[in-house]
Symmetry: C2
Subunit: 355 residues, 2 copies
């Protein structure tokens, strides 16, 4: 393990473990990204996947929001689709359209095109290098989060070849070819496990698994095709890295809260459709909850944002909560509104505790 | 009221009212549509909105699935976007892409382009004519359902100009311009009320309100921008047509089940992410539940479909349930799998009752 600078703000790690803190920690999904002019400046000179693939650039954009806002965590600038890339599929980032796979998996027989046991260190070493460099450059200001896409979400992208209206090609596999689906999910899981462990060794202090398309399942299909792999990831990563908190963010999986509490993830990310108070009632103190302001709230004025933050914090309570948005920042968000969000979380949460 | 043929199968209307029946009634959202070769044949000769706008053609495609399957209801072939058309906006149906508004509402000032009090009978008389004709041609075989989009869903389309990844332009209005949003929602509500009452006068025997984009809300925004208008619609329509059962299908509004039970809608449509048993526990016998098989189940084989139907029926129970999919049929579904779904509902539900 490289000799990293000592951590000055461990708020988020303590809340992950269930400790009480003087204020609620806060970060924002996609906090490094297109809504920041300093990010746009980097992107004007480099393609998206070149930024991801060049440790110096990835470190630079990862730290940009930390320099600008009073955030309690950094998240490495990367993309969930580096895993399909490691599995041998080409992924392009098409301006204004998002990710595009020129040759997606159209049928189970296409799985033969995937690299069977990819050398994850070799294929994704650039992410590890970016984590190590960022951890040094952060100089202990805040913890650094690593992440991965979840097996189902990656499977959905690999089959659809990009964004899709209802992801029905991928969903069709669950019913038409369940054995092939399980095999693909297991193959992806194996890579994810190696990748997350590698990220911790390279410097990640917390890990998040993004199951962005969990909302396409119902409760039964989630229990069959998502939950077993999510559990397996946490169990296998924790065996190697027992002290690194893990977040599961299964967007849209409103029906799965009770299932997710029973896993080894310490933190459950919630999207903005979840009622904070109702979620807390189900979860109690058994897990830390992360989220969940509607990102569109940031289109409102300062008063609107502050009121929404108050409601959110009152709903989750002052214990075991990491404030975040319920989904990522949008490219047209005003950075000053992000600042109001971050600062409001700190101010209001300190008031709530009578600090 | 025209002199319509007597109804031979009133199963769905009785279940709507809470009566016990010998079997569970079933219909499918988008049961008239592209997965049927006989529909494709009509569409090969006529544009989408020409079929909607020509009563003879609309009646023909409405009845196609009734001729083919043992369904317990017909739903008039139309589109939720006829209301934006009545409000003066042009809507095109673009092949392979879906609806497209050449001039959507880009800002609240664009609302001045909307027809303030459209003559609904004049603008949408073709739908009324289609209902009357279909009701005659159905000859009482099954009840005929009329429908409308909900205010928020129509607002989302009018602002986005078509399908969208996250509908953030429309969602931004809720925070940036809440007064304009309420004004647009009220204007749309007024048209919807007239339109639904007109549909009943023309022959509709049950009504469904589709809030297809309710899942973009959280619980608070739903209560502010959707629920009051949905309630208003039911109250105002019921004042004129107290005996016509009404369905509210707020897709993705998992957080709103308790709110919806408190409205005047007798029937709550559920998408496939809702657990039937859990929903029944919340709702009890206070409402009829409609749904909710994952449409992708129909990509599976007969055994897969039958097993899923069994699980669904066991979850909802044999009282106050109308079987349906949790969303519409897909264009690439096999009609024979739709038949297995419909027949399985009847067979299994009769077995459950020991018929």
């Amino acid at each position: 393990m490289p000799d990293f600078p000592p951590l000055k703000n461990d708020l988020i790690l303590r809340v992950a473990r269930g400790e009480s803190t003087k204020r609620t920690p806060v970060w924002m999904m996609r906090q490094a990204g297109r809504y920041l002019p300093e990010y746009q400046k980097v992107r004007s000179k480099h393609e998206f996947f070149d930024v991801v693939g060049t440790p110096e650039l990835a470190a630079e954009v990862t730290i940009q929001p930390i320099d600008r806002f009073d955030l309690d965590a950094a998240i490495i600038f990367s993309d969930i689709l580096v895993i399909p890339q490691a599995l041998g599929l080409e992924v392009q980032m098409v301006k204004g359209k998002g990710p595009h796979f020129p040759e997606p998996l159209r049928s189970p027989s296409d799985m033969s095109r995937l690299t069977e046991e990819p050398d994850v260190d070799e294929e994704l070493g650039h992410v590890y290098d970016a984590l190590t460099l960022t951890r040094h450059e952060l100089d202990g200001r805040v913890p650094l989060i690593g992440f991965s896409g979840a097996p189902w979400t990656l499977m959905a992208y690999m089959i659809e070849g990009g964004g899709s209206k209802n992801y029905k090609r991928a969903r069709a596999w669950l019913y038409e070819a369940p054995d092939a689906a399980h095999s693909l999910l297991q193959q992806t899981t194996d890579v994810i496990v190696d990748y997350l462990i590698g990220q911790v060794r390279a410097g990640a202090q917390m890990l998040q698994v993004f199951d962005s398309w969990a909302g396409l399942f119902g409760p039964q299909t989630f229990r069959t095709f998502a939950l077993p792999y999510l559990k397996q990831i946490a169990e296998r990563v924790k065996k190697e890295c027992p002290d690194v908190p893990m977040v599961v963010f299964a967007k849209g999986a409103h029906y799965a809260l009770e299932d997710l509490v029973e896993t080894e993830y310490e933190i459950i990310g919630l999207d903005w459709t979840m009622d904070p108070k109702a979620a807390r009632l189900v979860v109690g103190e058994r897990a830390t909850l992360q989220g969940n302001l509607d990102p569109c709230t940031l289109y409102g004025d300062g008063e609107t944002i502050r009121r929404a933050v108050q409601d959110m914090l009152a709903g989750f309570g002052s214990h075991r909560h990491i404030a975040n948005l319920g989904h990522g920042m949008h490219p047209d968000h005003d950075p000053e509104h992000a600042r109001i969000f971050v600062d409001s979380v700190h101010e209001v949460s300190e008031q709530m505790r009578g600090v």
